[in-house]
Symmetry: C2
Subunit: 376 residues, 2 copies
């Protein structure tokens, strides 16, 4: 049991850890205003450099005062480096030691992204926490074993070389650069990657290359192995994970920071998370249900008295208010979970905590694979 | 100059007139929460009986406590009778003296709507102000003159006979029933319809059958003729109109209440209304513009500091937040217009008012014809 409490301080405010960072991919969290995001209890949010590079362009955001001012979010922001999306989502022309060259999905233009350009884009965007540009191969179940192993090893080594170039290109003192550990599901490679990555004295370290299609058990094996190896005095960030169950497992392994599109992506499809598990609001069982999603929830949807019947109606009628309200509820559910996690650590009452959250004892589905999904 | 001030009192609160009622067709104003609607300064909103009858069903809404509770709006609500939509949007099987029989656009089921059933639906929904079921023919430019005239006359007469049946079926003392004047663009028929309709002692009277495709000039001719004929001691409601220019013209004619989908429909397509006229936020001219839609606007979008550049980005990226923020701005713009109208009447300063609103001296486009549009 490595669970731990902390506080990350940035030029735009601090946040308590373990922390969940909801995702505002293109500098917008779907239908939520910054005030509504704030109302969910979220302190730090995530933007994606890949999407903002393509549209509206990082230099434009810089000229408009940076991403905080652009989207009117006054708290901490973390930007992903764009590496993951460039590798998994883009029409790739070429991958080599300098990075990746691909076609913009917006206008077809040719774009290069590598360690230096990713750092420059993130410097232009101006987030508080920036990520090193990494080589993140998909889990690749269809690839034969020797080939998969070689690809995993190459990605780990290339990520390390790119980290050196990111450190050299990193020039804004007001931005914290985090390195990313790779190594796929090979625990020996993970160990090596931790040692190599942590040879760089960085503000924090992330576990990348998880939730790329390898399944819940493999995620758990990698996280339980890798997280405790990371320096105890720096924030540890598990990228792109996950369901409440995965988050709790990772907290137990000593992870401090999380991001995931689940609350918003599932929310706008009518799936609401609850302490007991997920429910599908489109189902007929909710048609006459005057109860809120959760009776004891203080979010704008539940606290505002919106019934399951009304929310179902919104989804069936295609009303935008449905996705907005359920996304708010879901993010708040995740923040309530993290709040209770932090309380349980403070109070040394972990088993009681687990009893209060039946959903963390369920396997509810795969952590979503962002590959190919452009809208989150 | 017949402009006048008033106050309409209902069981769920009162509102100042002249008043603009934004449209929450299916008991939802697109992406806006009730708190956001309230934040625009809107006091009374409109729901549509036709849409709610089809989905989720009026009896269901009744069982859930009525439409106020259903959508969590604590202020006054007006429901349209459904007649207009049944005639203009539905696949009609039969129109006769008993009403209209049509196929549901949701599940294809056969539905009958007539004076008695419309009143029952509106009683189930439980709005504060309900509308008589009327026969509202389209402007019908493609129909030959003698035929069009006969259809207009028939609709006027049928609307009157149906009004008698609505009055007989009206049984909730807490709901105010408003009659509707028809007569198309024939001023003599309008005069007759006013006399016949106002023979019924009702809480208020509406001018229907406008903004059905007849054009701005014809709307003005009908309104300037008809409004002053209505009883001076009852609220006058011009249905489905319109642009700021149309509203100001109608206020000058003595109209008290307005509803229109323009602020939300145009808002979610990236058109923002301003005091100077409408702007299209998708245009490239806004790409680097750090200014809000309007510098002196106090809405959540402008007051919140969201730039035109950011709003443009949201629309290009397909982010729901764009429609939400611009709809909020547009509704607030309409409410600021109405606030200034009321102030100008109070202060007897009408010409100065017109100078403050350049947009009311422009013909900005047709008042939208709701025919065939299912999403508003």
């Amino acid at each position: 049991m490595y669970a731990r409490r902390g506080r990350v301080t940035t030029p735009n405010g601090s946040f308590e850890t373990p922390a969940f960072m909801p995702v505002a991919t293109a500098a917008a969290m779907k239908g939520l205003t910054p005030a509504q995001i704030r109302g969910t209890g979220s302190e730090c949010i995530l933007n994606n450099a890949f999407h903002l590079l393509l549209r509206p362009g990082a230099e434009r955001v810089k000229a408009l005062g940076g991403v905080h001012k652009f989207m009117r979010w006054s708290g901490p922001i973390l930007t992903d480096s764009g590496g993951f999306q460039a590798f998994s989502m883009a029409q790739i022309n070429r991958i080599n030691e300098d990075g990746v060259t691909f076609q913009s999905f917006i206008d077809g233009s040719t774009i290069h992204l590598g360690p230096e350009s990713s750092m420059r884009v993130q410097q232009d965007l101006g987030a508080d926490i920036v990520m090193a540009f990494d080589d993140c191969p998909p889990a690749g179940e269809s690839v034969a074993e020797p080939e998969r192993l070689k690809r995993t090893l190459d990605a780990k080594d290339r990520t390390l070389r790119w980290l050196g170039r990111c450190v050299a290109a990193h020039c804004r003192d007001d931005q914290a650069l985090l390195g990313i550990v790779q190594g796929g599901t090979e625990l020996a490679l993970r160990t090596a990657s931790v040692q190599e990555t942590c040879a760089f004295d960085l503000a924090g370290y992330a576990i990348g290359g998880v939730a790329v299609g390898e399944g819940t058990d493999a995620i758990e094996r990698v996280v339980r192995h890798t997280a405790p190896l990371l320096p105890v005095d720096r924030p540890r960030y598990l990228m792109g994970v996950g369901y409440p169950r995965d988050i709790v497992m990772a907290v137990e392994s000593g992870v401090d920071m999380f991001d995931c599109v689940l609350p918003t992506r599932n929310g706008r499809n009518g799936m609401a998370f609850t302490r007991e598990g997920a429910i599908r609001l489109r189902n007929a069982i909710h048609a006459d249900d005057a109860a809120p999603i959760e009776a004891d929830c203080d979010c704008e949807a539940c606290g505002g008295g919106f019934s399951r019947a009304y929310l179902r109606h919104l989804f069936l009628a295609g009303e935008m208010l449905g996705p907005t309200l359920v996304s708010i509820h879901n993010i708040r559910l995740f923040q309530r979970l993290l709040l209770d996690i932090r309380r349980a650590i403070d109070d040394d009452a972990w088993l009681q905590f687990r009893d209060r959250w039946p959903c963390v004892n369920q396997v509810q589905g795969r952590t979503p694979d962002p590959t190919g999904v452009l809208d989150d």
